[in-house]
């Protein structure tokens, strides 16, 4: 058994810095590369892509990335865990196999495929058998949106990823699984942790939580002494250096920018935090009030003392459904009295929308530059502001009404207050809203499946 492994995070979300994974592979020693691609509504986008093209439906960027880094990964035995498979894990794996063959790597690696998360075709059956899939936030019944569902996936945990690693997979591709499971699985695999060793599982889970947002724990978006954080242009993505006892060090490659210190790690620990006593994953319940942190040299923070509890008997399900349309229009008003002008324009716009008889579920006006982010906390805007952006959004089920709204923005330039610009982009786009429905499902309803393919 190794006495430590280094797990590197290469993507904080789908669309993060494209060269980050390659820099993690080339920038110094690592054992695992962890890539998180799936935000809450990503699955619905992939479901639509798959409906149009049965070979699509996964994170396409993953394939050229593998083309770039696979030779180095095979040579140095760096293993990859990625939830790049979306709603077509087999298709993603087939594309990666093709790339690997073209690179001359036939016979040199195995790809692990984890499925079983997709329950879209089982919804009616589940509802008929009394699995309600009520909205965790609002307690609404799923029947309210049943005919508008676009995707439905259970979050799998670390266990099937561990199985794929145990069977020798160099790359493990999953569909919907927890971000933390992608980091925890290599530790369970390498250190032989028991799946009821709650303290160690909680430790690996918290390591995953810290690195799952990429550089957000290594100097990015860090408020603590942000002005002095060095060389963010060359920011180092985080690495969790894990030990068999569950403790780990958060660090980054030498010679990279950014900063790993106790404050930067604390900020990320609190990101999207609910009740810190019970951070629930499929693998365990982690207690954030037991985490101990200590500086461990430059750009190194040691994390230890973590306690966990038994996992629950449910899995979280993410369901996406179509929820109407929205559009956002903007115009920029310049000094003097920029805020007053933007307010006057908003009044004119709303009067015109009223006269047209347009009805929306919601209409929201914001004044960017004055108070769009902090609202009333920002206080009364100064009449000397250089400019204010008027930003008006509407939302509703009637697509025609939303489209009509988009035609009312540009005319304000010639028919409203003076000193206005910023309409280079044309009419605002009407967007279909795909909303998110979180629910719980008994674990007994979900069977994950692991398959290994040879390249």
């Amino acid at each position: 058994m190794r006495n430590k492994i280094r797990i590197a995070a290469g993507q904080g979300f789908w669309g993060d810095l494209p060269d980050a994974p390659g820099r993690q592979v080339e920038g110094g020693p690592i054992d695992y590369l962890m890539l998180d691609y799936l935000a809450e509504v990503t699955m619905s986008i992939m479901q639509k892509q798959k409906a149009r093209d049965p070979t699509a439906g996964y994170a396409r960027d993953f394939v050229p990335l593998m083309n770039q880094i696979l030779p180095a990964c095979v040579e140095r035995n760096i293993r990859v865990t990625a939830n790049a498979g979306g709603v077509n894990v087999a298709g993603c794996a087939a594309a990666v196999r093709e790339v690997a063959r073209e690179l001359g790597l036939s016979g040199k690696l195995k790809i692990g495929i984890v499925t079983g998360d997709d329950i879209l075709d089982r919804i009616d059956d589940l509802l008929a058998r009394g699995v309600e899939l009520r909205n965790m936030d609002t307690d609404e019944s799923l029947s309210a949106v049943r005919d508008r569902i676009q995707s439905a996936n259970a979050y799998l945990g670390a266990e099937p990823i561990v199985e794929a690693l145990n069977q020798g997979a160099q790359i493990v591709i999953t569909g919907r699984c927890t971000d933390t499971g992608l980091t925890l699985a290599p530790m369970i695999h390498e250190f032989g942790w028991s799946l009821v060793d709650w303290d160690r599982l909680a430790s690996g889970t918290i390591a995953g939580h810290i690195i799952e947002c990429g550089a957000q724990c290594s100097g990015g978006n860090c408020q603590y002494e942000w002005q002095s954080i060095p060389d963010l242009a060359n920011v180092g993505f985080p690495i969790a250096e894990a030990a068999p006892d569950g403790s780990f060090v958060i660090t980054k490659h030498e010679g990279t920018g950014g900063r790993v210190n106790v404050p930067s790690v604390k900020e990320q620990l609190l990101y999207e935090m609910g009740d810190p006593h019970g951070y629930i994953t499929p693998d365990c319940v982690a207690d954030f009030t037991t985490i101990q942190l200590a500086e461990d040299g430059p750009d190194r923070v040691r994390v230890f003392g973590i306690k966990g509890r038994a996992a629950t008997d449910t899995l979280k399900v993410s369901i996406s459904y179509s929820a109407g349309y929205k559009a956002v229009g903007t115009l920029v008003y310049a000094w003097p009295d920029a805020y007053e002008k933007a307010r006057a324009a908003d009044k004119i716009l709303r009067a015109r929308l009223d006269r047209l008889g347009l009805r929306f579920d919601q209409i929201l006006t914001e004044f960017v530059g004055a108070n769009a982010t902090h609202g009333p906390l920002a206080g009364e805007p100064s009449p000397d502001l250089g400019e204010v952006q008027l930003r008006v959004g509407v939302r509703g089920n009637d697509r025609k009404a939303i489209e009509r709204f988009t035609k009312e923005i540009a005319p304000l330039i010639l028919t409203g207050p003076p000193g206005v610009t910023g309409f280079a982009g044309g009419r605002p786009k009407v967007e279909e809203i795909v909303a998110y429905w979180p629910a719980l499902i008994p674990k007994s309803e979900i069977t994950s499946k692991v398959e290994i393919i040879e390249v």
Partner: protein, 113 residues
């Protein structure tokens, strides 16, 4: 004297649906008890009036010298439904740091503030 949280803490915020979370982290260990005493859930609810329509919950993390606040019904429906510029509540962190708290001059002096 009055002192702004910006001088006492740093913060990070995020979202879960229509709920924003704000983690408030003491800049120094000896400042944490002051945050526990002064920055109650009720005060945060009052601070975010006009923004937070629901309840405010507070959790203590003495091990990190931090408080975690959940501000329910604060993000215009949350996620893709929200029309807000900051639909993910990412700037609620510094919005909380605007808060001013009261402390006796003597205590401010002993904390070197």
């Amino acid at each position: 004297m009055q002192i702004q949280l910006l001088k006492l803490a740093h913060a990070r915020s995020g979202d879960k649906g229509d709920t924003a979370n704000v983690g408030l982290i003491a800049l120094r260990e000896d400042i944490y008890p002051l945050l526990v005493r002064e920055v109650s859930a009720a005060r945060v609810k009052q601070h975010f009036r006009g923004i937070c329509q629901g309840e405010v919950e507070r959790f203590e993390l003495p091990n990190l010298g931090a408080l975690n606040f959940l501000l329910h019904e604060s993000l215009g429906g949350g996620g893709t439904l929200s029309l807000m510029t900051d639909a993910q509540g990412k700037t609620f962190s510094t919005a909380l740091l605007r808060m001013k708290i009261e402390l006796p001059d003597e205590q401010a002096k002993s904390l070197g503030l």
